[in-house]
């Protein structure tokens, strides 16, 4: 909900869930993709477990139960989804910014983020929100 922010085409998302735990993460990425599809610039503040979404050392693996090796399984990784959205924004001439909460990164040991994802803090969330048309905070449960 927003009644006073200047009209622009930038949306901020605050997200808290980690990869591989629940469907909110999938929905969050669908929302980011939809925002870009509608020509909105996107800014993400990743808080708590969400800082692992951009962890650069995520690795694919094979799955014996599926009967597939690593290449065939082609396991989804959130770092690749971020990279795909970065490419989509670039192709469309939009911006896609991502800041991880630094303290959340430290306590989880996920310091190595993919290129284009930076480190910051709550002041960045406030800056993002203040400069955006609207903000969606997606809490965890």
């Amino acid at each position: 909900m927003n009644k006073t922010s200047p009209l622009n085409n930038t949306l901020t998302f605050a997200f808290m869930d980690p990869p591989f735990e629940n469907e909110r993460t999938i929905t969050f990425f669908r929302l980011l993709d939809a925002a870009l599809e509608k020509n909105a610039n996107v800014r993400v503040f990743a808080y708590e477990g969400a800082v692992a979404l951009a962890f650069a050392r995520q690795q694919q693996h094979g799955n014996a139960v599926h009967g597939r090796d690593t290449d065939a399984e082609n396991h989804p990784l959130t770092k690749d989804w971020i990279a795909a959205l970065q490419r989509k924004s670039k192709d469309k001439g939009l911006s896609f910014e991502w800041i991880n909460c630094g303290l959340c990164v430290d306590e989880r040991g996920v310091n190595e983020a993919v290129e284009g994802c930076g480190r910051g803090g709550p002041a960045d969330l406030w800056r993002y929100a203040s400069e955006s048309h609207n903000t969606l905070a997606i809490g965890t449960r």
């Binding site: 909900m1 808080y47 708590e48 969330l125 905070a137």
Partner: protein, 126 residues
């Protein structure tokens, strides 16, 4: 821009984070100049009637030394000029209505929540 922070969960990760992470986020953003209000509803209403720090965790020989003190955190928000509200019905539903609430916390009816939402520019419901 004024943002209303709505907190309806309680004690989620309070053990390992040593605070309520949304109250912490609110304190940080207030320090960065944000105009914020806090509405405690649902299980979050309990924060307004407790007066002790959380019990320290202990696993084997490991002992927590700085358990969450949410009462202190709410007091700090009030000291920084952040209005803190609690929904009366949330207290009633949990048998907590009538207990003393923390100083500076305003008890409001569920009907008044709509007005609170109307007066904010953005609602961040965590």
């Amino acid at each position: 821009m004024k943002v209303l922070q709505v907190i309806d969960q309680a004690f989620r990760t309070a053990g390992e984070e040593q605070d309520d992470t949304i109250l912490w986020l609110t304190q940080c953003m207030r320090g960065a100049g944000a105009e914020l209000e806090v509405l405690l509803t649902g299980h979050g209403a309990y924060y307004t009637v407790q007066s002790r720090a959380q019990p320290a965790l202990k696993f084997g020989a490991w002992q927590q030394t700085q358990p969450a003190d949410i009462t202190q955190d709410i007091g700090r928000l009030r000291e920084k000029g952040v209005p803190v509200y609690v929904e009366r019905e949330a207290l009633q539903e949990r048998g907590l209505f009538g207990l003393p609430v923390l100083p500076g916390v305003e008890v409001i009816s569920r009907d008044a929540v709509a007005k609170l939402y109307e007066n904010a520019d953005q609602i961040w419901h965590w």
